[in-house]
Amino acid sequence: MRLRIKQPSVLPGFGLTLGFTLLYLSAIVLIPLAALFLKSAGMGWSSFWATVTSPRVVAAYKLSFGAAAIGALINAVFGFVVAWSLVRYSFPGKRIVDAMVDLPFALPTAVSGIALTTLYSRNGWIGQYLEPLGIQAAFSPLGVTIALTFIGLPFVVRTLQPALEDLDPDMEEAAASLGASRWRTLRRVILPTVLPSLLTGFALAFARALGEYGSVVFISGNMPMRTEIAPLLIVAKLEQYDYAGATAIAVVMLLISFAILLAINVIQWVASRHRIGG
């Protein structure tokens, strides 16, 4: 029996479009990404390990992870409230508010970066009220967290909205008629149903925040060991022509991103199995 790569079809253009797709994909994405892994393979395990475990790099990873996780958590909580309000309630200006949620996707990161820095610096609109409280927002880990919260804001809202729209009102009505309070219905009926979407939104916001650069470089102040994020360290190494060092840090970040992507797919897969199973 002949192994069939492609099922027969009357439509033309398969070879041409697939050929172009593979060629372009290889030229723009696959070959350059392969260069990254080959470069790091060429530097040897011991120097690779020494680079990625040096104190400055570890401090940058810690900050990137910590601030991205806190930002994603803030977005999970408030994103839920926003998505709930947008799906369940009606209020004046709702359509505009809904459209505005995507602003962090549409606004160039350099613009959000300088805007947030100006707002949260000592004499900025918001910073001037934090200063007397002894809170330094700009040029501190707090500033990094604020920027990463901004950049991840749309993800939780946008993944939760369809899930909340799909909720079956009968389930909630049944819970209410059986005597459950609204709060209990939320915890026992609604939250378990939309949990996969919530987790997916959290993971997407976290992954985006890990790699973010533009909105953070301005507000962080870029102090080594204190407010330096991992992507910034890559740029710093590049400016010193330390390509091997930059590559090593990048490979670790890329592997983490792929792991998060895999986790998201597992969440979706488990959730869809549950839906079918019962």
């Binding site: 253009g13 613009v111 300088i114």
Partner: protein, 306 residues
């Protein structure tokens, strides 16, 4: 990682309206709406307003003077040039990939879809770095390029390549799922009636997916014009030469020329607002069910021609 901005064609009705057992008391409702609006106001509205206020801090004269600066004009031109290359190229790619993936069944299709989404998972800085490793002076092609006097890194071609990478999936990921849902029936009918491949594509397939294509193009364009990290790594920051608008904003800001920085930034903020408005318009248009069912009329047309 812009994975979540996708077509939401479902209706927005919640079904909860008018069912008192499953909604919250008015005070709770208003409290939740209040929390939502405060959160969005603090994180979205205030920063956006800040851009325009800072841009006009020294009056309209300073604002327009900053935009008339030759370096600023050069940055605007370069940004438009980069988008004018990246958007059409990725649009053609997106349509070709959608045709191959949605209209045919072949081995490895799911892997291909995953690979197309890959650039969204890569940090912008790494997106620039990989091109330095290929085209940079010490990269794979570096010796060859410098022997032939071809500049890619720290020049415009590098900026274009990095932009192509970060905007790679936008059109494809909007069009593939829609074409998959629409199936092959229309196209097979057209071909059976004697239409050519290109004719079928332009008269049957493209009208069916035009809103998804437009949606992808809008998002692709916004990212192409606004990309900072990837472009920053490969540009070399040569003022008036290899500075796009976002890079020019950075240069001005680091020179403490805040009014000029925010003036250029306000143009980019306007672009973002226009993007959001267009995006909402396309979502609204495409949600109208079967607004202009093209298939029947076009198919009849085609059968008459042959």
């Amino acid at each position: 990682m812009a994975g979540t901005i996708a077509f939401r064609t479902g209706s927005a009705s919640s079904g909860a309206a008018g069912r008192p057992a499953i909604t919250e008391p008015a005070p709770v409702r208003w409290a939740l709406i209040g929390v939502s609006l405060s959160f969005l106001g603090l994180f979205l509205l205030i920063p956006l307003a800040g851009v325009f206020v800072e841009a006009f801090r020294k009056g309209a004269g300073a604002f327009f003077a900053a935009l008339r600066d030759p370096a600023a004009l050069a940055a605007v031109k370069l940004t438009l040039l980069v988008a004018a290359i990246a958007v059409p190229v990725n649009c053609v790619f997106g349509l070709a990939a959608s045709w191959a993936i949605a209209k045919f069944n072949f081995v490895g299709k799911n892997l291909l879809i995953t690979l197309i989404d890959l650039p969204f998972a890569v940090s912008p800085v790494i997106s620039g770095l990989i091109y330095i490793l290929v085209y940079g002076l010490h990269g794979w092609l570096g010796p060859f390029l410098s022997a032939h006097d071809i500049e890619i890194i720290f020049a415009v071609p590098g900026i274009v390549l990095a932009t192509l990478f970060v905007t790679f999936p936008f059109v494809a990921r909007e069009v593939i799922p829609l074409m998959q849902v629409q199936g092959n029936d229309d196209e097979e009918a057209a071909i059976t009636l004697g239409a050519g491949g290109l004719q079928t594509f332009f008269r049957v397939t493209l009208p069916n997916v035009k809103w998804a294509v437009l949606y992808g193009v809008i998002l692709c364009n916004a990212r192409a014009m606004g990309e900072f990290g990837a472009v920053s790594v490969v540009s070399g920051h040569i003022r008036g030469k290899t500075s796009t608008m976002p890079l020019h904003v950075e240069i001005l800001y680091n020179e403490y020329n805040f009014v000029a920085a925010f003036a250029v930034a306000s143009l980019l903020a306007l672009l973002a607002l226009a993007t959001l408005a267009l995006k909402s318009f396309v979502e609204w248009r495409s949600r109208r069910p079967f607004a202009e069912a093209p298939d029947a009329a076009v198919l009849e047309d085609l059968s008459h021609e042959h």
